[in-house]
């Protein structure tokens, strides 16, 4: 059974914002990846010691999976249908039916079981997003945002990837838009989105989230080396942090460059110099994160004079740089600030 729906693949940095951007663009509302990311106020920093990945704390640079699609669509007034399945057969049949009706379908899947991922990139991450746009015999035609070109996936593998169990299990989730508006009222939604993001970074109620979270991690790094076991595991812990920040799908520096790109686009759209300045400032912060990754790798391989305290200072410097950005954007979008720029 062959169905191939008209669709143009575009590579992006991150899977979910990429799917969102491609989906909207496909349906006649061109939105760039950074814009999709920014409209969802998806940037964050979170150090979550309770959630363990390979025995190490989860460090997140963006909001949790599904956030981008739900938040961005709500903000621009689009509606998406999300469906989950208990039964794998029904889940696959529903996908086929949607494809036959000429739709492109968003699918959540586990990276590990997708055969088109190179061996080194295969890890157990259940919340990867991709677009299915057709079928050719037993193969599904897939636009995986992380890849340069469209890929193919045999149906048995896609089925396995969609229905693995465990943390963040996809449960065969698929989604497609039900309604997409013709235009976006940027004057209204951009300030909202930026304001919401400022709140996450500056005013988190928990010390492990936002800019405070970065400082918390710096302190925790030093604290972790007080025990023998902590010192033994330090190289792995550092590698873990670097991977969370850089590996597949962050666009570099834990989404900082994606968001900076969004701020620049927002500055152009609204003609607001303050946002342009913030974009520049966030680029500097992103560069700080890249430097941190370089130092962390050197320390973990004992190729550096720097000690853990030095590394923590680099991290605190990142926090300071980010504080600059969000200080610029403090009260952005609130009424008083808007009248101030207007007058």
């Amino acid at each position: 059974m062959n169905t191939i729906n008209e669709f143009r693949h575009r590579q992006s940095a991150h899977c979910e914002s990429g799917v969102m951007s491609s989906m909207l663009t496909h349906h006649g509302l061109p939105v760039s990846e950074p814009m999709a990311f920014g409209l969802a106020n998806a940037l964050t920093f979170a150090y979550l010691p309770i959630v363990k990945i390979g025995g190490m704390p989860l460090i997140a640079y963006r909001m949790p999976p599904r956030w981008i699609i739900s938040k961005a669509s709500r903000r621009i007034g689009a509606r998406f249908v999300f469906r989950k399945f208990r039964d794998a057969d029904k889940g696959m049949a529903a996908l086929d039916e949607l494809l036959d009706r000429g739709r492109i379908v968003g699918v959540q899947a586990s990276v590990y079981w997708l055969p088109f991922f190179p061996e080194e990139m295969r890890f157990h991450f259940n919340a990867h997003n991709l677009l299915v746009y057709g079928r050719d015999g037993d193969d599904y035609l897939i636009s995986d945002p992380v890849f340069e070109e469209p890929v193919r996936c045999p149906s048995a593998d896609l089925r396995k990837a969609r229905f693995t169990r465990g943390a963040m299990a996809a449960k065969g989730m698929l989604y497609y838009p039900e309604h997409i508006p013709e235009t976006i009222d940027y004057e209204r939604v951009l300030p909202q989105a930026i304001k919401a993001n400022e709140r996450i970074m500056n005013r988190s109620p928990l010390p492990i989230i936002g800019i405070r979270g970065i400082r918390y991690l710096a302190n925790n790094l030093i604290k972790s080396t007080r025990t023998h076991d902590g010192r033994r595991r330090l190289p792995l812990y550092l590698a873990h942090i670097v991977r969370m920040q850089e590996e597949i799908g962050t666009g570099g520096a834990g989404f900082r460059f994606v968001y900076a790109s969004f701020l620049q686009e927002a500055a152009d759209t609204l003609g607001d110099d303050r946002l342009a300045e913030a974009a520049q400032s966030l680029t500097t912060a992103g560069d700080g994160w890249r430097e941190f990754a370089v130092h962390a790798t050197r320390v973990s391989r004992r190729r550096s004079e720097m000690d853990v305290a030095g590394l923590a200072d680099v991290l605190r410097d990142c926090a300071d740089r980010e504080a600059e950005v969000w200080k610029l954007l403090r009260d952005y979008g609130s009424r008083s600030a808007r009248t101030a720029t207007a007058s």
């Binding site: 340069e148 693995t164 465990g166 520049q280």
Partner: protein, 138 residues
């Protein structure tokens, strides 16, 4: 990050896949750039893979000595740890840990073994055998 400084470290861990990054050009404008890989990131990935290989080797030795069941080796071959395997098989961690006992493991009923087969993507013969020393040929 400056567009001209985008790392292009070929022998990374991307296996030829170029990923997309955002960087600024000479005028400070953001564009997307493709990167062949970054040594820093590749080193971190390799460290994680080496750790898995180390744990796997350790488990393999113990499995040879009859101190653990093939299940533990398969778990590492599948790049999983205990919480992941327990999640994927839909069992409590302590129950999975009990199945690392070779005697218990080989007494398990078919329906429990099937859940492990499903979680690890193995057939039953392979699940019950300790895999070869070098690990699965993939």
């Amino acid at each position: 990050m400056d567009r001209r400084e985008t790392p292009q470290d070929e022998d990374g861990t991307h296996a030829g896949v170029r990923k997309l990054l955002y960087a600024v050009d000479e005028q400070g404008r953001y564009t997307s750039v493709r990167s062949a890989g970054w040594e820093v990131e590749a080193t971190a990935t390799r460290a994680a893979l080496e750790e898995i290989a180390r744990l796997r080797d350790e488990a393999w030795q113990r499995a040879q000595a009859g101190q653990t069941s093939p299940l533990e080796v398969h778990m590492h071959d599948c790049r999983m740890d205990l919480p992941l395997l327990a999640g994927a098989a839909g069992m409590w961690r302590w129950r999975v840990r009990r199945h690392f006992d070779p005697k218990r493991f080989h007494r398990l009923p078919r329906r429990v073994l099937d859940r492990y087969c499903e979680a690890l993507g193995l057939d039953i013969e392979r699940l019950l055998r300790v895999p070869p020393r070098e690990g699965p040929a993939e």
